[in-house]
Every structure is written in C-alpha cells, then in structure tokens.
Subunit: 315 residues, 2 copies
C-alpha cells in the first residue's frame, strides 16, 4: 500500500498553503433541524478550481523536483481533477496535459482549457483513458499524476479533513463522497490520526456502487458500469484506495440520484451555496441513513461546485 500518513498529509498542507484556500465551514440551522444532527459543511466548492481536487493536484505538482516538473504533468479525468491539475501546473509554470472522456461536462472541459492545459479527448472507458495518458507520458516525458491512486494526491485530499477537524472539532462522524477513492482515503487517514474514534462514512450513488459492493464482498469489484447524474463519481475504486477503506473500516452509504437531487436543492435553498451533484451525496446519505447520525456532530466534505447552471438537475 502506498505510504500515506498523517505526516505526509501535514507535509501536503504546508506545501499547498501558499496556493490553496483554507475553505470555510458552514452550518445551517434549518438543515440541522431536518437531519436532527449538527452538520458542519467543509466547503470545498469554494476551493480554487471549484473542488477539493486542487489540494491533491497541487501537492503532487509541488512535490516534484525541478527537473521532473519542467517536463510537465499528465492525467486523465472526467473533469475536476483535470481542471485542478491544470491550475496546479499553472501555479508552478509547467505544462499540463489532460486526457478527457468525450462525454465530459463541457463546463469542465472549458475550465481545463482556461487554466492553460492541453486537452486530449478519448473514448469514455477507463482503458482508453489509461492508454491516452500513457501515450502522452511516452511522448512528452511528463509525469503521470493519477487522479486518485497517487500517494501525493491522496495526501493532498486529506488536508481538507485536517482543516475541518481544526475548524469544527470535536466531530463524531465524517462523511465524504467516494468514487476512485482519493478523497475518502485521505479523509480517513487524517480523521483517524487526529480522532481515532471518529466514524468515517463514504456516500456513493446507487448507480455507481462499486465501493459498496467491494466492501460487502471483501474484494474489489471492478465491473460496475456507472449510471448516475453524479458526473464526479463515475470512476471505479482504485486498489490502493480500497485497501485504505478496509484498513479504516469505512462504511459506504448508498444514495439514489433522486435523494441526491433533493439534497442538492436543499443546499442551494437553505445554505445559499452552489454545489455539484457529487457533493450533495453526503447530505443525502445523512438524511437517508439517519440512525448513524442522529444527535451527533457530523463533518461533511462538500466536494465541489462545478455544475452546469443551464441544466440544474431538478429542472
């Protein structure tokens, strides 16, 4: 298993401090009343490039030595990681190449280009994404920054929980979305280093429930074909990420897309913040799986805010 520890998360926090935002923690009396719990929302939708992904990408980019960095970075991404890596590369003044599935939300493609990266389209399969990224590595000498298995990415993602616990402790539980598993891995490592008794939950769409099935079966399930409106949560869980989830006894909480859309609307209405569907899974999970949270102080990672405002999902 890749070595990601609280020390590497603290090192990541120091490395990204000059570039990433320390995002606020918001709270809503109205939503607390609905959930019958105290919910503390770590607002990574306010993070640079609009999502927590900037933390991991920034850490990975700035961890490279100068000679390696100068050759640039490559990744594949259905959106937020691509934008995040593009911006992170820009903060260091190095080239970035992003392999993007053809079905990616246009807003996210535009963001990647706006940050100055080269966009390379591929078929929307994991194999095509991997192949495209490997070809770019061969051709350019750039370093592959995998969106969720790279240890520096996982450590960077963990910095959100490091901050959240400083801002909102004591917490009884933590909920983050799971897709490839970079965020949940970093979150669990940070959480248990600082608060060993804290219960860690992963919110996952029912239509992309490979993490749920993997944890139930005790081995990684890789044949789930994602069907969910949560465009940020369609990746399959990484092997290293699955290992971290088992090591930290993460409980996966499935949510339907309808529950996610209702939660997303509630966040817009009551909290007055813009979140993408993936981010709303955490509130959907708290509202559906109430027995885990009633009467407790719960930290929720609001993962991002990059939503197509012309096509909000309740419309």
């Amino acid at each position: 298993m890749a070595a990601v520890t609280i020390e590497s998360i603290r090192a990541a926090a120091a490395r990204i401090a000059a570039h990433a935002h320390r995002t606020p923690v918001l709270h809503s009396r109205g939503i607390d009343a609905l959930a019958q719990a105290t919910l503390l929302f770590k607002c990574e939708n306010f993070q640079r490039a609009g999502a927590f992904k900037f933390r991991g990408a920034c850490n990975a980019v700035w961890a490279l030595d100068d000679a390696t960095a100068a050759r640039g970075v490559v990744t594949h991404s259905s959106g937020n990681h691509g934008g995040a890596l593009a911006l992170a590369a820009k903060t260091r003044g190095i080239p970035a190449h992003v392999v993007v599935p053809e079905d990616t939300v246009p807003l996210k493609v535009a963001a990647i280009r706006a940050y100055g990266a080269s966009v390379h389209f591929c078929e929307p399969t994991l194999a095509a994404r991997d192949a495209g990224a490997e070809r770019l590595v061969r051709e350019t000498g750039a370093t592959l920054i995998h969106p969720f298995t790279h240890p520096d990415v996982i450590a960077g993602q963990g910095t959100a929980t490091l901050e959240l616990i400083e801002q909102a402790e004591p917490l009884d539980a933590l909920v983050a979305p799971v897709s490839g598993g970079g965020l949940i891995s970093g979150s669990a490592i940070a959480a248990h280093a600082l608060a060993p008794e804290l219960a860690v939950f992963a919110a996952e769409p029912e239509g992309a429930d490979d993490a749920y099935r993997s944890m139930q079966r005790g081995e990684r399930v890789t044949d789930v074909v994602a069907a969910t409106i949560c465009d940020g949560l369609r990746a399959n869980l990484g092997a290293v990420n699955f290992a971290f989830m088992r090591a930290h006894a993460v409980t996966v909480l499935p949510v339907s897309d309808a529950e996610t859309v209702a939660a997303m609307r509630l966040v817009f209405e009551r909290m007055k913040i813009v979140v993408e569907p993936s981010s709303a899974t955490v509130l959907a999970a708290v509202l559906r799986h109430r027995a885990h949270f009633a009467g407790r102080r719960v930290g929720l990672i609001v993962s991002g805010g990059n939503v197509d405002l012309d096509h909000l999902p309740w419309q």
Copy 2:
C-alpha cells in the same frame, strides 16, 4: 431627519449579536481579474432568513419595550423584510403580521408563513400596502415596523457595513443596492463614520430608477413605476432615506436587468454562492461603471439569496 448615527448602529450591533449571523466576506480572483479591482463581497445571502433585512428587523423588534413588544409587530413587504420581521418576532416570541402584495414571489410568502407570521394579501400598490398595515395596527395594537424608513431598521442595516469594514478594511469604495433606501442609508452612515473618505455608491435597476432621478433632480421622484426582475428593488425611495443619501453624497449607478442577470450568473459560477437578482446589481454596477472602481478596494453588500430556483433568470 430620523436620528441614525454610528452610535445607534453600534447599539444595533450589540442588540442583534445573539440572533444575527456575522456573515463572511468572500473574494474571487476570477472576478477581480474581470473587474480590474479588488472586490470584497459581504455575504448577507448567508444571513438568517436569507437577507440583510434580518438585521434591521431584529434591531427594531428587540428595541421595543416588553409591553409594546407583547402586542406584536406589523409591516408590509414584497418579501425579504416580511420574512425577516417574522423571524425576528419569533426570536422574541411575539406575534407578527405581514401585508404582502399579491404579486410577491411565492417562495418569499412561504418563508414568511414558515416563520410563524400571519400573511395578509393586498393589491400591489404602495397605497394598498400602507392602508393594510395601518388597519392591522388599529385592530391589533401592534407596532408598525416600516421596511426602510424606521430608524431602528436603518441602524440595523448599517451593521452589515460596520462588520464589513472590520473584516476587510481599508476600503476605497462601498456599493449597496438601493430600493426604499434602508440599506444604503445605514451603509453610508456607518461607512462615513468609520472612513470619512470612502466613496459610497448605490446600485439601482434602470427599470426602477427613482433614486437615480431623485439625486439628479435634487428632489424626491415618486412616480416611477418599477419594471425590473429585481423583485427586492421595486419600492420607491423613502423621504428620510433620500435625505440620508444627499447628506452622504451617494452616487447612484444604474444597471440594466441584462447586466444584473449576467452578474448574477457570474456570482453563481465563480463564487459558488446563491444570490437573488437584487444582490447582483452591485457587481453589475462595478462591471459597468469601471472608472469609479479600477484598481481600488471595493466592498459590495450582497443583499440576499432568496431566489426561485425553478426559474433562474438566465434560463
């Protein structure tokens, strides 16, 4: 002129501290680059009841003596002040009556009811609103809390600028929307007490430009029939509010609805916060009237976030 001073604003701040949020000040690199200025957004969309109006209503409610308070409060409002007064009355456990024009946004009517106030519909004219409120005062013995001329309301609204200057000083300029003029009056009084050189601007829809015309003409213009998507900015400027605007040499900056909608969308996309059209006028004004703001540090009061999410104006 009603006596509203920095002392009454400071007293209001102390009076409402236990009930109102100290809202955050947000900042966007992307929007700064577009505006070529440093913009500090005071996020009253995160205020309780979703708008700055809670500050004034709360101050007015808690300034009443116990016997008077027990008879309740009355107001007329096209929306946010009604919700704010309803919630303020609830914090003190007293009755609230709100006279509401029939064409008010349904979301705002629902909010007033949700806070426990009695809603009384009237025709959408100022005369009908006044008559309805006066009748309720006679019938119930409750105290009329006018939405923008009441000195305790003006003092309460000024607390947003008091906080903003503490959070973001030094500022070169301040921009707030103008409708009846409660917010701009309180803002100008607070701003000039703390920073006499600070330039104070009012953003106003071209379709409801009575404040602009009044300031140009040097006397209050009361015959403008409002036609704007900014449902919070359709009231005519109050006499006392006009006097404060003149005393503080407030410059009114007109904006078109199209400019407001574009600015509103920009705030959703870049800042990831939900704002109502009225709130977006301030950014629209900064982007249109660039000569006043280029290279300066500008505070903007984001007045509220109570928008109908089923009918966003760019859709």
